[in-house]
Amino acid sequence: MPMKIGSDEFKNRVDKGINDSFMRSAVASAQDGIGQRRQAAADELGNWEEWRSHGEEIRQHVLAHLDYYLEQLSENVAKRGGHVFFAQTKEEATEYIREIVQKKQAKKIVKSKSMVTEEIHLNAVLENEGCKVVETDLGEYILQVDDHEPPSHIIAPALHKNKEQVQEVFTKKLGYTKSSKPEELAWHARKMLREEYLSADIGMTGCNFAVAETGSICLVTNEGNADLVTALPKTLITVMGMERIVPTFEEMEVLVSLLTRSAVGQKLTSYITVFTGPRAVMEVDGPEDFHLVILDNGRSNILGGEFQSILQCIRCAACVNACPVYRHVGGHSYGSIYSGPIGAVLSPLLGGYDDYKELPYASTLCGACTEVCPVKIPLHQLLHKHREVMVEKEGKAPITEKLAMKAFGFGAASPALYKIGSKIAPTAMNPFTVGDKISSGPGPLKAWTEIREFPAPNKERFRDWFKNRAKEEHV
């Protein structure tokens, strides 16, 4: 699977994450900082809940009429002289792009950050063609320089690295000689990247929103790299997930506000880049040739089903930044380029349960993700829905759990059985009980008591106390 990163088992990935104290402190401080800024930016509007409802409505409307808007978008891109290609699979997408690269005899491609091109593993395909592919988003650039390390976060791909680690990478790989000051590191990257923009044959971007009414593409960045990628090279290729459409600029404005506030706690990012088709007659810059690749890759299977609301996602990562599990295990533990709650819902849908069966269980269902989602995706309910599908349709639950849960369901529905079970519980637990606690329990209690005490069952159940008390009162 192209989204898949590494081949380690889930448990080993998590162990690795938990034992990486550098990563954990970088993630915790990023979560804290972004979380506070997000809250302030949301509160500032005074009616955040109305904004969320509005965002949800726009996204649901687009998904309900996706065929209409896709047609409108492609017509308008074509009207402005652009080429549109619908790719049903990742292979169709990469093949189309590979052909353009071949036709243009391109040697160098500059990219602005795009998760969807990670999803189809585009860089590897292009590098195979002998192309140099340069990531121009600073975070992506750092990872690329560091031997193509995969992203650990959907908007801050190098979130798991601190500035000292970035300095180390730059020193080792780029001959960098200065300090770990972010300004100096960024200046060095800027210097290196300027050369690349000027000599690139093709520019390549993802897409935050595509405006159906005008055929425009909107990109949201803080570094201005998207401006250079879209303006300088002669050929521009944009790859978008098929659901990333807004009807008009009016809806785009709402979603951009929700995105920037939720993603980084800013009213707006430093750059909101909007471009429409190739360079027109009176325009001074922009590409001569523009291609829009619209990717399905499993999305149309999600449409119309129980998981449709996940397609509302605008990739702000607020759920990732709020997730207490992500906080401790980091992005690479998810084994997918999509991490955090959004990744735990999306990865099994796009990549199948075989590779991602643990992800829906890697959540306490605490609802922190659902609470911050700017387009009201019920993430914790979707995580639960995956569990239900795996247990009931895919039959993926371990047999011991199946038996335990069947027994539980049976017991919890049968007062007679519960009565016996709960009455004998203190006696049954006697061998494990010391004082009023169990420090080393059997069966499912083992995992619990490895790190915590478990209370011994009450000798007198609450219900017995209540009954006896009523009797005494009547005497």
Binding site: T364, M390, G409, I451, R463
Partner: protein, 238 residues
């Protein structure tokens, strides 16, 4: 006022003191308590593990159990939230959806019931000690009960409350998550314990037996002297 107590299985089996405190507290506030004997468990452990079909039987039993109740009150935000999810779970079921809705509408978490229904903000409690309060996720975020426990605690005489840093962060319980994902759960509960320690409180108070068993069990294992109490026990002390 007649109140049917939904004690929860954890309280029935492991924390009977919480059930007793709940009964005594509500009686002091003038309620007449009844405990329908056929109640068992809301079904959350199996439901959250994905065993929806099995859980529905337990849920139907609960709907039957409380069919005649005027009010259903429970000392657990999480289990009350589960009742509130029943209509979603039984959606499009011609019989059970309506019945689930009726149950959800009359079911309250203990502090929510005292403040919103009984309209009492001071239960006349006295408790000497420095405490901090853990806001459970299901109760706070999903059920939406945020203010009631704080209103009641702020009116307890003798109590000094220090706000828990990162209070909205999950303690790592998550029902079966605590054993299925034990390695992650351990990290989460350890972070929670360290924030509790920062407050220098003598007591940790919470409104959900599950979270308290998790945090309390970890603190005990690590030899922390901080004592754990359910909010019902604090509100019932004089």
């Amino acid at each position: 006022m007649k109140v049917s107590l939904f004690a929860t299985c954890l309280v029935d089996l492991f924390q009977s003191s919480v059930g007793k405190a709940t009964v005594e507290l509500l009686e002091k506030l003038g309620c007449e308590i009844d405990f329908p004997e056929s109640q068992i468990c809301c079904g959350q452990p199996s439901y959250n593990s994905g065993f929806v079909k099995e859980s529905k039987e337990a849920m139907k039993r609960m709907i039957d159990t409380f069919a005649d109740a005027d009010y259903v009150v429970s000392p657990s935000g999480s289990c009350v939230y589960m009742f509130h999810e029943y209509p979603y779970i039984f959606k499009n079921d011609p019989i059970w959806e309506q019945r689930a809705k009726a149950l959800a509408e009359k079911t309250y978490e203990l502090t929510q019931f005292i403040v919103d229904v009984l309209k009492v903000e001071d239960v006349g409690a006295r408790f000497e000690g420095s405490v901090t309060y853990h806001t459970s996720c299901h109760m706070t975020r999903l059920l939406g009960v945020k203010k009631a426990p704080m209103i009641l605690l702020n009116n307890v005489k003798g109590l000094s409350i220090t706000e828990l840093p990162y209070k909205e962060q999950c303690c790592g319980f998550g029902g079966t998550f605590s054993v299925k994902m034990a390695q992650i759960s351990e990290q989460m509960v350890d972070e929670k314990v360290s924030h509790i320690e920062e407050t220098k409180a003598d007591y940790l108070i919470g409104a959900d037996a599950g979270c308290l068993m998790n945090i309390g069990g970890r603190m005990e294992r690590k030899g922390k002297p901080i004592k754990v109490l359910h909010i019902a026990e604090v509100l019932n002390s004089r």
